[in-house]
């Protein structure tokens, strides 16, 4: 992070957020703090949707909250922009405590600083695509000419230039979500909340949208909180991932942290289905060089953040362990072929001694 961006880009922090639905929520929070669990509360008829959630999101980061339905991830998201009021805890944004704002001040923050993209697009069917994209600006009271110009720019950004006069129901799902994205971008809000935004799309289109989001993010550097139930999506998008279960954040870390050191069996059971070779990088599989001049040959080498899948491709062509270098070309480590195979198979022991080894040597 450069220090200049620090000034412009916002920062989000959640401190011990609780959300309890039902009777006497404050008492429920005290019980939870005292160590009571969710099921005990449910017997009283109260539901603890989010329990003791704390995290920080750095400027320009995509923070993904991953969890199955009922894990409290959508509730958590709605507390960040005040659509739901936390039962306890604080949300700090740009150093401002959002939970202390009045309803009117909160609306101002929502209209100018935080925008949101929805699971089922939530486009207004009685407004054209352009009017939809301009909605946030209309709420801010921006004059018509200017808001239409900015909305058209936002549409262009999401690849929908020229579709402004169409109506939402004339577009495909993917295009509708691009309108949703354009609507969120048009207000120039720093914080983008995305609630399962790609879950309702076909797998191919979902992938397209993920790529486009990453592409946009390179240029716009928004701070994004992204909700998903798909760990693959979380790992593709997330700079940092929070895994939620039963209202609690059970693990908080980078994609690699989660993949390499799952906090518990629950997280571990999740990552079984993840394509490890696309998430893990050379950095996480490399070992100390077998010889100091390992990187000096002319063979192909890889960078630290090259996915393991691509390291495999290189390893197939290189007759010795693959060198891992940083951007300047200095050697960081090497990846021996058997280590690659062990990682893909999730084996942590390494090769054992083979009883036939001597026979093989003698033969």
């Amino acid at each position: 992070m450069s220090s200049t961006r620090e000034v412009y880009v916002s920062r989000l922090q959640a401190e011990q957020l609780y959300k309890v639905f039902g009777r006497r929520p404050d008492e429920a929070v005290r019980k939870l703090e005292g160590g009571a669990d969710r099921d005990e509360l449910r017997a009283d008829g109260t539901t603890a949707a989010v329990i003791d959630a704390s995290f920080t999101v750095d400027p320009g980061q995509i923070f993904v909250v991953m969890g199955l339905s009922g894990s409290g991830k959508s509730t958590l998201l709605r507390m960040l922009n005040g659509l739901l009021e936390p039962t306890a805890g604080r949300v700090l944004f740009d150093g401002q405590d959002l939970t202390s704002l009045s309803a009117r001040e909160m609306r101002t923050v929502r209209s100018s600083k935080i925008s949101m993209v929805f699971q089922h697009f939530a486009l207004f069917p009685h407004r054209s695509v352009l009017e939809n994209a301009a909605y946030g600006l209309e709420v801010q009271g921006v004059p018509r000419a200017e808001r239409e110009k900015r909305a058209a720019e936002a549409l262009e950004l999401t690849g929908l230039a020229g579709w402004g006069d169409s109506w939402p129901d004339e577009l495909s799902g993917g295009m509708q979500q691009r309108v949703g994205l354009a609507r969120a971008l048009a207000t120039d809000a720093d914080l983008l909340l995305m609630d399962e935004s790609f879950s309702a799309l076909d797998p191919l289109i979902r992938r397209d949208m993920q790529d486009q989001l990453l592409e946009l993010q390179k240029r716009l550097k928004k701070t994004i909180v992204f909700i998903t139930h798909d760990l693959n999506e979380a790992m593709r998008l997330g700079d940092k991932i929070a895994v939620m279960r039963d209202g609690r954040i059970v693990q908080l870390g980078t994609a690699e942290d989660i993949l390499l050191t799952p906090a518990n069996d629950y997280v571990a059971s999740f990552i079984q289905d993840v394509d490890r070779s696309r998430v893990l990088t050379a950095l996480s599989v490399m070992t100390t060089p077998h010889r100091p001049d390992a990187g000096d040959c002319d063979c192909e080498s890889v960078l630290a953040d090259t996915p393991v899948a691509d390291v495999c491709t290189v390893a197939a062509r290189v007759p010795h362990p693959v060198a891992v270098k940083d951007a300047d070309g200095s050697l960081l480590g090497v990846v021996p072929q058997e280590r690659l195979i062990a990682f893909l198979g999730d084996d942590k022991q390494g090769p054992a001694v083979c009883s036939m080894e001597e026979v093989a040597t003698h033969a």
Partner: protein, 600 residues
């Protein structure tokens, strides 16, 4: 179970309200009456065919050429069956009721959609309003608001409010929650969320509710007619009372034309006003393509110009219309334009004597307004002072209940005809039954039933409590409660098929002229002595109008006079009662001056 005196509590509540909140009811009456008069004045002003043209242009704009043509044809039909004025007053009544209903229902619906508590409280209230039979609150309505259009409009509002509220609530509640959340997420104020997102998307449902409100209002016009609301409802009610199938059908078809027009127009309007509907229309238009005359719709601007031009022409023509009513002059002008309201029940002698008095009083310079009422409404209205007098009370027996209830607020101007008689009658082809004694043992022949009239009628009471017991018919015969028109229709049907039937009747009654009937003798004299037909006036009428009071007290008719007048009215036709009276007075010179003498 202890008896809860719910009814008594309601009675005293009504009394209390009438005593302490009359200022409020008067204010409501003033406002509603004002609205009705204003709208009716506008609708009634243009020439019928021109106004039909205006309505047709509106239909053309909203639905196309064929709808315009059909509209014109429909309203031309109404004009040709001479129900135009009635139709316009019904339209005014429906419009006033619908406007008031919507002004109340839509905010209530919005409130209910935003608050679960309000919704929960409103629901049973709406159920109550929708299902409580209108007749139950019509009479209290008359006590509060007096006879005329107001209680009819109030009853209509009560009946048509629930769908307006429910559809508004439903429409707003069924707007996708994610859309509302999206609006909030972008910082929209609750008020703007309602105006910019919820209401536009709920509009089709709300418009369906408006449509329901209007249709239900139309279905209530007959009830309104019973309370003196006039219009097509009055015509239908009059037709029912006289078993006049022709008039009933004509008035009914006019209601249908009006209903279809309002239904189609509000339906089309809902598509014009909602953004989604407009889009669908544009799409459909693009799909058919071309500018064929059939699909051509005048633009709103063109339609407005057309309506305005027609309205101006209509207004201009109206300027030349002049009244040429005969007016009394000189010594004969006793009334000097003073207003007198007459009420009547659609019984033949009532109609005859009422229009006779209307004519007599108009000749003496009074402005007379004669309206038909349901019996309960008539007495309540007279007790409340809105009706000055009526000429058709059968006392002391038949109308005893009404007299007992309201005698403190009424004055008896004496009997002008009598005696009348009550009886059971059979067609003369029923050979062996001549007296009430003969009915015993013949139950099977009459299917063990006496086709009765209203359970509230005095005659029904005597029949059930006394006649059946005294003549030992209890158990053998059952009195089938119904209505006078129902009884007469059944009599007509049985008579045509020559089936045995026994019905309660009274004399004088036109049925004796129409059918060959036999009055069953009453050897034990259980029916009692006959009634006299009395003129009743509101308390104080005779002292306010000394001459008229004297004339009414001295008024007498004999059987020949009454039957000949009734026959004249019958032969002249419906709606021309007063012409018949004029003709009859011409044939009977001197009677008018005898009944309404002026000191010269």
């Amino acid at each position: 179970m202890p008896r809860l005196h719910l009814g008594d509590w309601v009675d005293s509540a009504v009394d209390f309200l009438q005593r302490h909140l009359s200022w409020l009811f008067d204010a409501i009456t003033q406002v509603v009456n004002g609205m009705y008069d204003g709208i009716n004045a506008v609708l009634d002003a243009p020439q019928p065919l021109l106004f039909a043209g205006i309505l047709a242009v509106v239909a053309w704009w909203l639905r196309g050429l064929s709808a315009g043509v059909l509209t014109f044809a429909g309203f031309a039909l109404i004009d040709s069956i001479q129900l135009w004025d009635d139709t316009m007053s019904t339209l005014s009544l429906v419009l006033v009721a619908a406007i008031v209903t919507l002004v109340v229902a839509i905010p209530l619906g919005i409130w209910a959609a935003r608050s679960k508590t309000v919704s929960a409280v409103l629901r049973p209230v709406l159920d109550f309003m929708q299902t409580m039979p209108a007749m139950v609150y019509l009479i209290p309505g008359i006590i509060f608001f007096g006879v005329g259009v107001v209680p009819g409009i109030i009853a209509t509002i009560v009946f048509s409010l629930p769908p307006g509220v429910r559809m508004t609530e439903l429409g707003i509640r069924q707007v996708d929650g994610e859309l509302v959340e999206a609006a909030e997420a972008f910082g929209t104020t609750p008020r703007n969320t309602l105006v910019r997102v919820q209401l536009p998307l709920a509009l089709p449902t709300i418009m369906a509710g408006i449509n329901q409100v209007i249709m239900l209002s139309l279905s209530m016009v007959v009830i309104a007619g019973m309370a003196g609301g006039g219009g097509l409802g009055g015509a239908v009610y009059r037709a029912i009372g006289n078993v006049d199938i022709g008039l009933g059908f004509e008035a009914g078809i006019s209601i249908v034309v009006l209903a279809m027009y309002l239904d189609r127009m509000t339906g089309a309007l809902s598509r014009q006003v909602s953004p989604l509907g407009r889009r669908a229309l544009a799409k459909a238009k693009a799909a058919t393509g071309g500018l064929r005359i059939w699909n051509y719709r005048p633009q709103p601007a063109v339609a407005v110009v057309g309506v305005v031009v027609l309205a101006l022409v209509a207004g201009g023509m109206n300027m030349f219309g002049s009244s040429n009513e005969a007016t009394a002059s000189g010594a004969k002008d006793v009334g000097k334009g003073k207003k007198i309201s007459l009420g009547y029940i659609p019984w033949d002698e009532g109609v005859a004597s009422t229009f006779l008095w209307k004519e007599l009083l108009e000749r003496r310079g009074f402005t007379v307004d004669a309206r038909q009422y349901e019996a309960g409404a008539l007495y309540t209205g007279m007790a409340g002072g809105q009706i000055d007098f009526e000429t058709d009370s059968w006392l002391p027996t038949t109308h005893a209940q009404y007299w007992a209830k309201y005698k403190d607020k009424l004055e008896d101007m004496g009997s002008w005809y009598g005696p009348t008689s009550l009886e059971l009658s059979v067609p003369s082809y029923v050979k062996d039954v001549n007296s009430l004694d003969d009915l015993k043992g013949k139950g099977a022949e009459f299917q063990n039933r006496i086709v009765g009239i209203e359970p509230s009628a005095g005659e029904t009471g005597i029949l059930k409590d006394k006649i059946l017991k005294e003549y030992g018919l209890d158990g053998e015969y059952k009195v089938v409660d119904g209505s006078t028109p129902g009884m007469l229709a059944e009599l007509k049907r049985a008579y045509a098929k020559k089936e045995p039937i026994v019905v309660p009747l009274w004399s004088p009654h036109w049925a004796y002229n129409t059918y060959d009937l036999k009055k069953l003798k009453d050897p034990k004299g259980v029916w009692g002595k006959g009634d006299g037909v009395h003129t009743l006036a509101r308390k104080g009428f005779a002292s306010d109008n000394a001459e008229v009071g004297t004339w009414l007290k001295n008024f007498k008719m004999d059987e020949k006079q009454l039957t000949s007048l009734e026959a004249k009215i019958q032969s002249t036709g419906k709606g021309k009662e007063q012409d018949a009276v004029r003709a009859w007075l011409k044939e009977n010179p001197g009677l008018a001056d005898k009944w309404t003498p002026v000191s010269s």
